[in-house]
Subunit: 361 residues, 2 copies
């Protein structure tokens, strides 16, 4: 199946299915006779690089760059390796980059594409569930800074996204589960029907049933594409996609990028968001319990790390870039399936949430 | 006087005049109550930082970052210092950066603004002639890479440009002359009437007559604004602004950034362009001599460095980013005041030009 992200002249298709890596027709018109660089990592390269090279064989020049795997390498230093390679190869402004991997590869490749010669094309081939339902859609690109996640980046839309369910088969359990956290997010965020569907199908999804999986990925991409089309540069509605992320970013940053997976941090962060919403009287105890239960079935964390105290969260949350002028803004659910941005958060309730949602030391 | 650059929702005004740094009203609505960071260098700071701080005194938070002066520092390492400072200050996505300096400061500040939190606002206060007539207008931002100039960057428009003629008084002669090279470029490029005006007024301009200077800056900005409005992302007409630049970039890169000033390299590059155009039968000997004469009066180089042989130019020119797919494309004049892009350049004529326009060893 194919979804379209409608962004005027920056519109692009998302292909979702199986055996897509074997379907060279999908990409041929984009890569034919052009200089193409595949950017991937040392985990993904042994699994899918050869197939991807075959997929892109109509390219004029085809090279690949294999980076070290992990969020710890999502920084300006690694980014510069991409520029070094592109310039050593003599690639022009008409070249096209291909991100083959998870969110880290997608974000870095996208930012390299946004910046190389002030902007070249790129294709996303997300190989993780997280990347397929979230980071490969919507054009947010960037790298981390020691003082904050994704602090350096650009809005740069891909020309095409190719989400092949086959590539999820090789995903480690922990990473797969982390991807499910973002899937659940779309349910809480704005799609209560999908949330209920997830409750029914949680175990089959955890078992990677390919048919259900493709349906879930499509539903998430559809939700995200609608939001992005309304608000490409995150001046309004798009901020809702950060449900659980302000808490989650604090966890990732404090623990050191990579120790908690992004999806794991978001999972704990969503529990914090619903907990706080309950304290505000917006959600019932049952709502909170549904969210926790679904995440637990999906083998995701429902509390923050034992190492973190309240005071470890607050400064990290204040620097989160969604917070204009240092004021803390959070995405909180009014009900499951309906969230809003809250810009005056009761400090005491927030502290209670942080305390009650942390693992006991 | 005020010019408007028409780019839809990215439109912005260019104020040109004297005593503008003392006119806080021009910027007040943009900076009031916001987090503001002035980025400047150690040459400009002692001259204009205090006045600029006063200009921006309505800011909510006002800080400044003083970088080392020079093209040699226009790189990712220096850029990262800007991010460090912004994050240490806890500046949000709603902050605004102010570039106080020449082209290097403007390009780096603009790229930092394009990248910080995926894009924040910035103001250009160009203090060199080069920056006033060229780099501060049009939204091209970026940094250099050891393998090529401006290879990493973004298109990011400022919210306002403030070109104060007073700041040109302190400019060293060599830098001032380098700025005049870009002024002459607009004449050759698409404004023969302006070229004739420059021939008449060359000596007064060299003496920095403020009235004539403001007229020249306005005319250049007008020319550039018209071209940029037609072709913001350089897919067509905007490439004409690179007259002399492909040659010039080769000189700068070969000699090591900073040894030849950008404008000096462009001056020699323009002579090469008109020389090649004459070899193609497009220009008369008299045309070539008018260009050389005007540049000589302005105390600019009319030949490449003695250190460079033909073979030093060619590989550098091929990597120039204006050259799609490694094919050399050059901007060449059909007549003074009318240029076009040429994508099949006779190799032998090009070599003859490079040989004949180089200083004798």
């Amino acid at each position: 199946m194919t979804l379209d992200v409608n962004l005027g002249e920056r519109s692009y298709p998302i292909h979702i299915g199986t055996e897509l890596l074997n379907n060279a027709e999908l990409v041929e018109s984009l890569v034919i006779d052009r200089q193409v660089l595949i950017i991937t990592n040392d985990t993904i390269a042994p699994l899918y690089l050869r197939a991807t090279e075959k997929l892109l064989s109509s390219a004029g020049t085809l090279s690949s760059l294999i980076l070290p795997d992990g969020e710890a390498f999502k920084n300006l230093t690694t980014l510069n390796q991409v520029f070094d390679r592109l310039l050593t190869l003599g690639y022009s402004r008409n070249c096209i980059l291909v991100a083959l991997g998870g969110g880290v590869i997608g974000d870095m490749t996208g930012y390299a594409a946004a910046s190389y010669q002030r902007g070249v094309d790129f294709i996303q081939i997300p190989t993780t569930l997280l990347a397929q339902v979230d980071s490969s859609v919507g054009g947010k690109t960037g790298v981390n800074h020691p003082l904050g996640k994704n602090m350096i980046g650009a809005f740069h839309q891909p020309r095409l996204v190719l989400a092949d369910m086959n590539s999820l088969k090789t995903l480690p359990d922990r990473e797969y589960a982390a991807g499910l956290a973002e899937v659940v997010k779309y349910g809480i965020l704005g799609d209560s029907e999908f949330f209920s569907w997830l409750e029914v199908n949680a175990e089959k999804l955890l078992a990677r049933d390919p048919v259900l999986l493709a349906q879930a990925v499509e539903r998430c991409c559809q939700n995200k594409a609608t939001i992005v089309a309304e608000d490409e540069k995150e001046s309004g509605k798009r901020a809702l996609l950060n449900l659980g992320h302000t808490f989650g970013h604090a966890i990732e940053a404090h623990m050191g990028y990579g120790r908690w997976l992004h999806g794991e941090a978001v999972s704990a962060g969503m529990v914090m968001a619903v907990d706080l919403a309950q304290r505000l009287g917006w959600l019932t105890e049952q709502d909170v319990s549904r969210v926790r239960q679904l995440l637990l079935v999906m083998q995701l964390p429902v509390e923050g790390p034992a190492e973190m105290a309240v005071d470890d969260y607050l400064p990290r949350m204040a620097v989160d870039k969604k917070n204009l002028d240092g004021r803390l803004r959070l995405i909180l659910p009014r009900s499951i399936g309906c969230c809003e941005m809250v810009s005056t958060v009761d400090h005491q309730l927030l502290c209670e949430t942080l305390r009650s949602c942390s693992a006991t030391r």
